[in-house]
Symmetry: C2
Subunit: 925 residues, 2 copies
């Protein structure tokens, strides 16, 4: 028969720390502590598997559960020396939820269970403290009423009916705080509460402790499906089928007198990672009092206490008298606590977050778990623990969450500053930005030119806005998702961006935006937090995090494990330099289209677009050639010694012509042509579905002179640098290939120009010509494409769009619903859809390497910097991932973690494909 | 050593009729006739393989060729009793191209080769006819000059320089026609021609017959790559690598005197298929004279001649004197011809198109080939030949080209009518339509209501235009391809459509269209030929073809062979009835969106779209429920006994709201809401890439009440009919599925409603719930999808769009270039791309049937009615194809031909998938 109930307490337990799936985090750790001989109040955990049975069985339990509970409870009674429901020596219980991962505050809890009119008398006798006993009883009835009997008000506007009664009693007694109420008052309250329940729910408050317990267990299991919990799970990607465990445990009290206390502590500083025991406690208090912040908690250690006093301007006399540390006030309990925390940290080999209660001078441990920490602390703790021989380098690498590194790489708002939130959008690109609102890219540039800091606010951005985005402190849009133009470009620039903030009403003509009743005009200050999506009124000071030596150490260790090369997506020498600093081993995607917007270039570009003949097109393109050559020269130089993948022109031509009347008129004036001609061209370039339109290599095929000019610029720059003694490895990448013929045609042009130029300069230059894989058909016929392509680079943004048939610009209309209804478990534009898109990638790799086993394969979609996707890329045998500069460290760490976890899986695949990766030069930092 | 030259003549030949690939059609048939003992002028054919060698070898021949030719020529000289280049008994040659399939007029020919100043004298002596000899010589120099020496004028505007000289000579001689020129004149012309060549090209006209021959052979091989030929091949899908053969053959002359003649004939009537020998001839004439139409040709048979005379009001005396038949004028030659044509037809077992020349009373056959015929003739001949025991039923089924049936199904313009062509677009939907031009769908309806016939002219159409399209005689658009909205809907309606006619300049405000200098106003008459893409000014009378009994017979035979079921795409009872008449075995796609445009429905639809709450949406949907139920009732009834696949709502909601200001204002007025609300909604529904947007099942998931209403309508109608004793098999099809979860959610709603309704009516009803496969991801995860889907239907239009990343609305910008540059061998929206999209289909089928081997799989994209695609669908194991009603017979025939060719291929696949198709009820007609 399956076991559903696991006992713990008295120095042993039926569970273990590694049984979190079955016992939940709390239950597993209580069992583990018990096994370690640490004193925890005895009790038992009903497993998560019962949660599953409960829901599948129409919210009913199998009959054997009751017997198991009876046995476990008897065991706890023996250990604690008290009896559940006993009128003279009652054992009181807490009933708590506990899922595999912590879901703080999401589910229900019942405390002091087992009290009734008889047992309360026993409690009074046992403790000699009638106020404590009646207060416990009153709290129990209130909590039980709320949680089990559904007395909670339906809306937030209504007051809790119990609190209303408390206020009435306080008023009638003429007192202000709860602590002034007497035992009699509390007894009075208890009866009033019961009466209210009878009135509202038509039932007597259950007096049978067993009935109380079943009610509480039901409520806790039931709370797994409350709306809060469902939403939390969705936001945090926790599967519903995990379920919660229920831990029933003997109550201990920190509020029974002055020899009682309760506290929480971290075994190291969770903010900096410093190896210093850090905690707070309160004498004669309950756990919730520490959290609630009604009384000022005291420090656990003397060192901590003195530090605290100094920063609060409290002199040593006052401190030691009014706010003594636990080390001073209860030295024995403190010593026990010290022994235990060191034991726990040594045992778990990680910084712990612990909760304890001291009841009549005896220390009880209520909880231990891995402590939450800042990214900086995570890195420091991991690196230092290796130094302490507590963990291995591998452990250290595994322990830091790659995405947390983001915090270390971008300036952040001063956490102490006050903030006035006015809206919340998608956290599209991390970092903090403060500036004055402008609504047009041109304005951004103009304002920035005279020294103003600006935030560019747009409904959505387009490549025309690049200049303005580049000078802005941050970008805010009301439309578009995490992979919208604004988001992608901002991440590439390492600039903060809040995107898709649908609440904003942006009025371009009036240059105002309104949101939540506020009107923000051009020139007003706002601040954006790109890591949270917060839009804040006014200026918020930022702090610039320094990269520690520990960070560098961890990165070096990560590099020892990872098998994937990490490249970056960079379009400028500046981006390239930043990425090099973060350890990029080359450029995986250099987009060339942004280069056509600067200064006079857009004019030449527009001349090219308006040209009626090839001759005129070539003439206009020749004006761009010099610029492009300079661009590539700078980028190659910044990436000296590393490969640089350059994508030929990709976006549809209509992105280079203005849509608005005024701009069209200006363009006509500048080019000295009738505005009708401009309008006609813009009209003829219009497409119903531009994403599936005339772009990518389709442009190069219809206008080979564009490809030719770009190829010439690439090889002119590369040959020049080679002559100057700089190592250059150009990789020319043709976008949007769907058929082998397209690649053949484009490759022929590029190869011809390359050979001509190399010959002209008389140099030796290694270069590759390859293709993006972003059209499903290209993946399907990869065996053919690999015959021509020397490398593949997955463009997973477009590949996802076409494989799903989702326009990432429009999917905002249904993606939220899809995530809510669990049609999708994750946004496929953020995390590679492994079942669909990923399957296509796997096919593509296998077929591609069947034709050409040395085929180098990478990824340059936004997914290249996302942890889960990097793991997938490692598994399926990619050679490299490429991501925006600020994500390079994340990718390095994620790749290392993937290698530790899936090395063999990958090795087997590569062997089957007969593929031996040629590793790039290692990261320099 | 490889053989390149194949002799024929004198009752034997080195080649055979089945060697068309090597000898070209002409060469192979000359060889075959020779083998049959039929007298053909002797000669030889240089194989198509030499064409390949020639081009691969930089337009040079291998040395062995010359020797082979010498031998073959010697053989011909022996047979013909004359000698090439001999001054007294010269053999003259023709040099002609001949590809595997006929490419009439596309390549070059040289006649009378071997003449020079010496041999012309020999010819004069031999024939005693100096005018004939000099005329032959003059023609030779002119033709050789044009073809070999490149004397042809460069542009069409320039006159042929030889013709200018002829005109000058005629002027100076004071005569009007060529025939009035004397031998001396012709001699004069010959010298003048040579002089001109010397002046223009700086070379003497070659006098060496061998040099002449090599020049001619070069020219013929060279003409394979002339622009005309390239274009023709592209239009007709002829691969370049086939190459042409060159046939060099002794000349025979029909113009040497009154005992000479030349003619062409068909062994049966090519227009009706009647078994009647039909031909025309001219006495003392050359082949080109018959074609040129300068002299009125005479009939070959007496019967034909009398008929001809009657219809030309010529009395029997005049006829027998002026226009005697060959049967009368040269009875022996006629008798020989009769023997030969019967022999040929018996031998080839097909109607033949023959060419003959009678030289000095001796009959020579110059060509035989399968005769081109109308579709009606093709059907009649095939069926009657089975009756004559000439061919088998299988042969008959194989012999008719499925697409040709189109001609039989739509009214066509009277071929005798005069037509003034003003533009040419894509032949998007066959048929002939004449009507008055209107530019708006509303106008079309208004004009039609008062009895006018209209042609709806639009830049492009949208679902809003359905009403207007429905009443129009034809649809003409300036944008969009063969699968544009206009084209698809028109084909569905069996209405003629010319689409993507880019020459048209349509001015909506002025209600005019201009093209090629013509201005066509609203109300002007135009005519459209949807089978050719012709746009014709004015009215053209049409003739309505009757479906013959032979057609029915052929269809029945086809059904005996085919393994695919044939369904139809039909949205109305009318369409369904038409399709039943054509033999549809059910509906494969019933689109429901068109149903929301009629009358008041669009109002309710718009109310639904504008609703802010589910309650309001349901209220609006309830107004539509009754209409939808009636729609389905009608369709089910029309398809009684056959399955009907109904697709739930597919297009994005913005297709149901007006885009133009005036219409928005009207909508606001009608609905009694502010126009701003309408505008805001339209704006919020706007999508950047609607093809990849909020549509298909994504609507059903976000608004489940839409699916629910549609399901209710379907099952209300089905249950009602079941109760009335009508057999109904509803198949509900969910569009745009990409994940299994989407189908689960939609299926749950549909199934619940189905069961509720069936229970309510107390009937037994078999129904299926399945999905379209049109999103690449659905095909990839087909194993999952098949767990829920009871059938798959490939939506190959969208599947092609997404697999290629082509928007079919926008691909017009690059598809023509792609076809021209051979990036694609065919438009993938017309013919399934077997390598890419097809591979995905194959994967999908295999994975789908692994999960569910009874899985029924069909196709409902436009490809379902296209011959090659139907063949592919047969091969990969589909259960049915579905196409527009007018394509059903085409699909039936194509499926039969595929079954005859690929039965085993299919059987093997199905066996592997463990799939046993359940055949639908057979076609009734």
């Amino acid at each position: 028969m399956k076991k559903f109930v696991y006992s713990f307490g008295g120095g042993k337990a039926e569970g273990r720390a590694d049984m979190k799936d079955v016992l939940g985090g709390k239950g597993a750790n209580l069992a583990e502590m018990s096994n370690l001989g640490i004193s925890v109040p005895a009790g038992f955990t009903i497993s998560t598997e019962m949660c599953d049975v409960y829901y599948k069985n129409n919210r009913k339990y199998p009959p054997e559960l009751e017997k198991e509970i009876q046995q476990a409870l008897a065991n706890a009674e023996t250990i604690m020396g008290a009896k559940f429901g006993d009128a003279t020596n009652p054992l009181l219980l807490s009933v708590r939820s506990g899922a595999r991962v912590s879901m703080p505050g999401m589910m229900d809890t019942v405390l002091n269970l087992g009290l009734n009119d008889q047992t309360v008398e026993g409690l009074i006798k046992k403790t000699g403290n009638d106020r404590f006993a009646w207060d416990s009883y009153r709290r129990f009835v209130q909590m039980y009423g709320d949680v089990v009997l559904d007395m909670k008000p339906e809306s937030k506007e209504e007051h809790d009916p119990f609190e209303i009664i408390i206020d009435e009693v306080k008023k009638s007694r003429g007192v202000k705080s709860d602590s002034e109420l007497t035992a009699a008052d509390l007894k009075d309250l208890t009866y009033k509460f019961k009466k209210l329940i009878k009135e509202k729910k038509g039932l007597d408050f259950p007096t049978d402790p067993w009935q109380q317990m079943w009610g509480a267990v039901n409520a806790v299991f039931g709370s797994w499906m409350n709306q809060r919990a469902i939403t939390y799970r969705r936001l945090n990607g926790i599967p519903e089928e995990w379920g919660t465990a229920v831990t029933v445990q003997a109550m201990v009290f920190g509020n029974m007198g002055m020899d009682c206390a309760t506290g929480v502590a971290f075994t190291r500083d969770p903010s900096t990672g410093e190896r210093a025991f850090y905690g707070e406690y309160l004498i004669n208090a309950q756990g919730e009092d520490v959290v609630a912040g009604i009384r000022t908690p005291q420090q656990v250690t003397i060192v901590g206490s003195k530090k605290w006093a100094t920063s609060n301007n409290i002199d040593e006399t006052a401190r030691s008298k009014q706010y003594p540390s636990l080390e001073e006030s209860m030295p024995q309990a403190y010593k026990d606590l010290e022994t235990i925390y060191l034991k726990l940290e040594n045992h778990y080999k990680d910084m712990q977050d612990i909760e304890f209660t001291i009841q009549n001078s005896k220390l009880w441990m209520l909880q231990t778990r891995g402590g939450k920490r800042t990214a900086a602390a995570a890195v420091r703790i991991a690196v230092e623990m290796v130094g302490e021989n507590l963990i291995t380098k591998e452990d250290a690498v595994k322990r830091v969450k790659p995405t947390d590194l983001d915090q270390l790489l971008h300036p952040v708002f001063d956490p102490k500053a006050k903030k006035r939130l006015v809206a919340k959008g998608l956290p599209a690109s991390p970092g903090a930005g403060t500036g004055r609102v402008v609504f047009h890219a041109d304005d951004a540039e103009a304002w920035a030119a005279k020294g103003d800091k600006v935030i560019l606010v747009r409904i959505e951005t387009s490549p025309e806005d690049i200049g303005g985005m580049n000078v802005a402190q941050g970008i805010l849009t009301s439309r578009g998702g995490m992979t919208s133009h604004a988001a992608v470009v901002a991440r590439g620039m390492g600039k903060c961006c809040v995107a898709g903030c649908g609440e904003l009403n942006i009025d371009y003509p009036k240059k105002i935006l309104s949101v939540r009743g506020e009107t923000i005009k051009e020139g007003d200050w706002i601040s954006l937090d790109g890591s949270t999506g917060d839009v804040i009124l006014g200026q918020v000071p930022t702090v610039n995090p320094e990269l520690s030596g520990n960070f560098g150490t961890l990165m070096k260790w990560a590099d020892e494990y990872r098998q994937l090369d990490i490249r970056t997506n960079a379009d400028t020498p500046k981006d390239a330099t930043v990425a090099r600093k973060f350890g990029a081993q080359g450029i995986g995607l250099c987009r060339t289209e942004h280069m056509f917007f600067e200064g006079d270039r857009i004019k030449a570009m527009r001349e090219m677009i308006l040209a009626d003949t090839t001759t005129d097109r070539v003439k206009a393109l020749n004006k761009l050639l010099k610029h492009q050559t300079d661009d590539f020269y700078g980028i190659f130089k910044a990436m000296a010694g590393y490969p640089v993948t350059i994508r030929t022109l990709d976006p549809p031509l209509h992105e280079f012509v203005p849509n608005e009347d005024a701009n069209q008129a200006e363009m006509a004036r500048e080019m000295n042509i009738p505005v009708e001609k401009v309008k006609a061209k813009v009209q003829s370039l219009h497409e119903l579905n531009p994403m599936l339109g005339h772009r990518g290599c389709r442009l190069g095929i219809t206008y080979p002179e564009i490809t030719e000019m770009q190829a010439r610029a690439i090889f002119e720059a590369a040959c020049q640098l080679t002559k100057e003694g700089v190592e250059v490895y150009p990789e020319v990448m043709v976008p949007l290939i769907g058929t082998i013929q397209e690649l053949k045609i484009e490759k022929a042009t590029i190869k011809r120009v390359a050979e001509e130029t190399i010959k002209k300069y008389g140099v030796t230059l290694k270069y590759l010509i390859g293709t993006m894989i972003e059209i499903p058909r290209a993946a399907i016929v990869a065996d053919q494409v690999a015959a021509e392509a020397e490398f593949f680079s997955f463009g997973t943004n477009d590949l996802t769009q076409m494989t799903f048939g989702y326009s990432r610009d429009d999917a905002g209309k249904f993606l939220p619903v899809y995530l809510e209804k669990k049609v999708l478990t994750a946004d496929p534009f953020q995390t590679i859809d492994q079942e669909g898109v990923g399957k296509l990638m796997e096919w593509c790799i296998e077929r591609g390497r069947t034709t050409r086993n040395e085929l180098k394969i990478g990824i340059c979609g936004e997914h290249g910097g996302e942890t889960e996707s990097v793991t997938f890329c490692h598994k399926i045998g990619l050679d490299y991932v490429s991501c925006s500069p600020y994500r390079v460290p994340i990718a390095r760490l994620a790749a290392a973690q993937a290698a530790i976890k899936f090395r063999e899986f990958r090795d087997e695949r590569l062997k089957k494909q007969n593929h031996k990766p040629v590793k790039a030069k290692p990261s320099e930092v």
